[in-house]
Symmetry: none
Amino acid sequence: MRAEILGVGTELLLGQIANTNAQWISEQLAEIGVDVLRHEVVGDNFERIVEAFTLAASRADVVIATGGLGPTQDDITRPALAAAAGLELVRRPEIEDSLRERFARLGREMPESNLLQADVPSGGRAITPVRGSAPGLVVQLDGARVYALPGVPSEMREMMEGTVLPELSALAGPSGIASRILRCVGMAESRIAEILDDLFTGSTNPTVAYLAGGGEVKIRLTAKAASLSEARQLINPMVDEVAARLGEVVFTTDDEELEQVVGRELTARGLTIACAESLTGGGLATRLTAAPGSSGFFQGSAVCYAARSKVDVLGVSQATIDGPGTVSEECAREMAAGARRVFSADVGVATTGVAGPEPHSGEPPGRVWIAVDAGDRTHARGMRLPGDRAQVRRWTEEAALDLVRRLLTDLPLPDGDRLI
Amino acid sequence: MRAEILGVGTELLLGQIANTNAQWISEQLAEIGVDVLRHEVVGDNFERIVEAFTLAASRADVVIATGGLGPTQDDITRPALAAAAGLELVRRPEIEDSLRERFARLGREMPESNLLQADVPSGGRAITPVRGSAPGLVVQLDGARVYALPGVPSEMREMMEGTVLPELSALAGPSGIASRILRCVGMAESRIAEILDDLFTGSTNPTVAYLAGGGEVKIRLTAKAASLSEARQLINPMVDEVAARLGEVVFTTDDEELEQVVGRELTARGLTIACAESLTGGGLATRLTAAPGSSGFFQGSAVCYAARSKVDVLGVSQATIDGPGTVSEECAREMAAGARRVFSADVGVATTGVAGPEPHSGEPPGRVWIAVDAGDRTHARGMRLPGDRAQVRRWTEEAALDLVRRLLTDLPLPDGDRLI
């Protein structure tokens, strides 16, 4: 099955946003064995949208379009798709009702322009939205199945996951592509590739791809076979071999987030955690609470930017502030202990340092201390992290979460001053 | 002048990277008044690259391609472009020399495959690289000028800035596109479009586009004229008119983040802020500290998930926990006051509620209270937010930051139970 992905929106052609929808959709289609042959982007221009639909449908079995389904006058994907398919737009009373209900539920009057969202090309289907107001469309065009989805990423993903991917998986039949992602923290991509090099040299099945970012390296293994189970049989022993060679730097063989792994390990042990954050500014807490169920293990976080609040809220000693200072092992240790005590948690984890771009307390950007305190066991680590403010914050979170993971699972505790 | 941008690379079609090159090039072309009509992406497939060059050149005056100029066997943009233009590839001795010199300088032996990078279509030009080893190409094809540039962003940008943009600026003559983005919180996209409808009906210059997401609506105005300053003169009065019609829901006319605006208003008044967060889990703190300079106004945040820590850390009264509960106006108000006191801040802002997907304390997902406490002035607001856990958290952050903005700038304080 061959697919093309069509982005609609002048904001893409003006470079105001990147076409991340095409990237995400491509990733999803690759996983179910659908080949993506082309991406295309056109602006909010009727003729060019019609032409793009016509051309894509003439070349592919499936066309997935995003954008241009909103209620405003620049949203013209709906009539353009109808025109390309030579179909009339028909107003669907049941969609009209659900639009009116949605507005009523929100206690607002519905602008008449929203009614355009109830129009569906005759013979086509609508995909009912959960999050947004814009229904998606499914239309047959020149032998190709065309999906038109909203451009808002969360609304697009909802329809991809709820409708498009299940339908295409069923159409594609027993697709034989299996993919697994291992994730590593604490080792550089080039070192990982070196260790695994001979495993994949000359191998076209499975294939390996490395993706570094956010202080982690993802290793994606992909195998094709006549069936999914055969593909899995090809890939699973390879995953085990990779995990065995790399050892403790692999924190998941199933593409979990590091914070998910930490949450799982805490839950398994019936332990709770609290954070004391300076330069990460709430990032640790945000990540630990992103998943449902985090209230089972997460007690809280004290984000203490000011030195005074480190003393007032976390009980860091004034002697530490005046002596080694806020960017120090002592401060990180006292913050971790403070978080544990203040939030009545089993484990406390702390970050303090300089995110940049300016130096702070006489320390350069990237100078960071992290500490973890589990009562009977504690550990602190000083690091010098490269990159801009966002990268220093992200890498500090990674290092702190990794320290908690290692402490919980009795792995060696690193002292090195580099994350990778 | 009409341009198309062609990305070459299977990694783009597999979704392993986003097409940020197309975004950056589009932005640069917009600034010199070149219209981008389409983006296209094809994989490392000879026929499809030839076809894409042919099609793009038939529609546009300028085609800018990126990727596929490297020395490995999947880099085939060079022969594909020659084939599309019906030209022979000719090895250029001077490029061969500079490739050999480059490798000698690096103390490495040059693989023979690198010599392919010295091939240039007859009658075409090469663009000499500074950073990388891959020369760019300039070829005339079917009346269009085609640039082929490396896919590595830094190498591509070097050639865009050094060669492509100066050449196209000269060809295009004096012209300019100006673009401004206003951002709104607290009003739905359809309502905004309705209020502005007559301003833009039938207007092709300036044009308007709406982009909704994350609890905000972005309004982008774009104008074209003979020069950038004339384009700005067209657009600026329109920005003022839009801002005047929409009033206080517009929080920026310069595409600032809401937290930037809040930080600016705090800084201008010499005030500090602290947060008390339950369901937002550190999201408010993360956003307020994302920008350099936040240590000037941000004191800290107490992320208190557990009811007990709301009492222990923030001083919420046990009577409130036992009576109206954690998801209540009383609790939000006491949390805001607590944040202000604990962190010695001028302003406290609090969030409490149910992010979902499960109900909590007898309240359904999306039930949220926010409060702001500035000592002399306080305000609380109960809301019922739609969407999943991530959306409820994000919209709660938006509503809380907006409440701070409004309180600081003496705007009306909303009581409605919907964000938009």
